[in-house]
């Protein structure tokens, strides 16, 4: 469904992605692992066109979405993204956060949206939090609202950028549960994560990023139990 072909991206002299090639099939869950600064966030931001790439191509269902000058908005509507720092809109209630994009982009009304939004909130255990403002919610709740907000656009693909990294340890579980639930529903997902156990349990494919290159990729069993590269082994020995 999604294919990166030799994608290269630099900030000035700093080459952050270096000929990265990656394939994600429909319904697959791909986890990006790697040290801080290895380019995970940049890779995800390139996928939904928040950053333009310098070279290579990104194909979504065969269509080249990395074509310079292409209107990014229609592409972004098909790809949901959740950030490490939640990035909820602080001046809106949880419900308004979720309804904004469907209202403005899809032209739907609040009344029309209400049942399905309420259903989404309920599904992720937030039924009684719809009228709360972000600063009235815990980190875990905010992150779940952010996920609901992305899901409300009915994306075909979801990108998650270290969404549990800013959370207190006891709140990580509730957010990972949401990911598990989505996985169960067959959502196609690309995650940058430090939750190795979670990745090992659920991912179809693990990509180890090292200094902007995909050093090694394969099923969790291969990466975690029989890594081929010395760098992968070194990284894993540090985080496991």
């Amino acid at each position: 469904m999604l294919e990166m072909q030799a994608v290269t991206k630099a900030f000035g002299d700093n080459t952050v992605l270096d000929h990265v090639s990656l394939e994600v099939a429909r319904g697959e869950m791909v986890c990006l692992i790697g040290a801080s600064g290895s380019g995970k966030s940049t890779l995800l931001r390139c996928l939904n066109l928040l950053e333009p790439i310098d070279d290579g191509a990104i194909l979504l269902d065969g269509q080249d979405i990395s074509e310079p000058g292409l209107d990014p908005d229609p592409v972004r509507r098909r790809i949901g993204m959740v950030f490490q720092s939640y990035n909820l809109f602080p001046h809106m209630t949880a419900e308004e956060n979720v309804m904004l994009a469907p209202r403005r982009v899809r032209g739907r009304t609040r009344a029309d949206l209400r049942p399905e939004v309420a259903e989404l909130f309920a599904r992720f255990g937030l039924g009684d939090r719809m009228q709360h403002y972000p600063d009235q919610l815990s980190g875990g709740q905010q992150q779940r609202v952010a996920i609901v907000r992305a899901l409300a656009m009915r994306p075909e693909l979801m990108l998650f950028d270290e969404i549990t990294s800013a959370l207190d340890p006891e709140l990580v579980g509730e957010v990972l549960d949401v990911l598990r639930q989505l996985r169960g529903e067959g959502m196609t997902m690309v995650l940058a994560t430090h939750e190795m156990k979670f990745a090992a349990d659920l991912a179809d494919k693990i990509c180890f990023l090292d200094a902007g290159r995909i050093a090694e990729q394969g099923p969790p069993s291969q990466i975690f139990e029989a890594p081929q590269k010395a760098r992968t082994r070194a990284f894993l020995s540090r985080v496991l």
Binding site: D73, G80, S85, F89, V105, A150, M153
Partner: protein, 286 residues
């Protein structure tokens, strides 16, 4: 409630339902209130006793603090101040709209909008660079001088235009700083949802930016309330001019003191409110 046997001092505080720390803080508060009151009283006392000893005090009192003149002129001054309030009231919405438009123009990224951006830049540079009174004179006399028919040459209209143009330039800069202060991650979040630039600005960035600059804009409003008096230079008899007329008529400066009091009655509460908003925002940020 468990009271440790060998810390008896804790007992009374605990009995009144306060912790030791609260009791201590209350003591400190009481003491500093007393000190502040005493030193303020001392300063006021010094002013009240020393100033009348100055050789010119009697003359100054007659000229500046003349009760009779005050009583005679104050009601008219208050009436004249209604003009200040009216001009202020109809200027504010215009300033808000124009300032916002200019701020957005300066934020424009599309090359087709470059002239707009350039205009916004020139506009803010020019009008922030000229003293308000000059703008009032130039526009208030200059544009009607082109030959506009009545009532379109009214000094109220063009004086207001002068104030609106000047203040919009300042407020536009405030709005722009507000817009720039909104973290890029908010824009990224909006973009990732497929919201376009206009919608992102309107629903995500602006509401936060405007809220953030409310205290700064309060200060502009206070300055505007005072600068409304500059319209008196091109004709309208508002409170400053009325006070000046009384001054000439009665050869006494008490009407100016009256006018100052009227301004203070409006600006002090507004200033306090702005400071309160500012302090609240600082608390929220930290």
């Amino acid at each position: 409630m468990t009271v440790h046997p060998d810390t008896e001092a804790v007992a009374p505080a605990a009995a009144t339902g306060r912790t030791r720390r609260q009791a201590y803080e209350a003591r400190v508060r009481r003491r500093s209130t007393a000190v502040a009151a005493a030193s303020t009283a001392l300063v006021v006392l010094a002013i009240v006793t020393l100033v009348p000893l100055a050789p010119g005090w009697e003359a100054v009192k007659r000229s500046f603090f003349n009760g009779e003149v005050f009583a005679q002129t104050f009601p008219t001054l208050v009436q004249a101040f209604l003009w200040d309030l009216a001009i202020f009231a109809w200027s504010v919405p215009m300033i808000t709209v124009i300032a916002l438009a200019v701020a957005l123009a300066r934020d424009a990224r599309s090359p087709a909008l470059f002239p707009l951006k350039l205009f916004g830049m020139l506009y803010t540079d020019i009008f922030r660079g000229i003293p308000v009174i000059l703008v009032v004179y130039l526009i208030g006399f200059g544009i009607p001088g082109l030959g506009l028919p009545r009532p379109w040459n009214s000094p109220y209209i063009w004086g207001t235009v002068a104030l609106v143009l000047t203040y919009s330039a300042y407020v536009a800069e405030i709005f722009r700083s507000g817009i720039e202060s909104i973290h890029d991650s908010q824009r990224a979040a909006a973009a990732s949802l497929g919201l376009g630039r206009a919608d992102t600005m309107r629903y995500v960035v602006l509401p936060q930016a405007i809220r953030r600059v409310v205290p700064a804009n309060m200060n502009m409003l206070i300055a505007l309330q005072k600068d409304v008096a500059l319209l008196s230079f091109i004709g309208p008899v508002e409170v400053l001019r009325q006070a000046g007329v009384f001054k000439s008529l009665l050869a006494n400066f008490t009407p100016y003191v009256g006018a100052a009091l009227i301004f203070l009655a409006v600006t002090i509460p507004a200033t306090r409110y702005a400071d309160y908003l500012m302090a609240r925002q600082r608390r929220e940020r930290s």
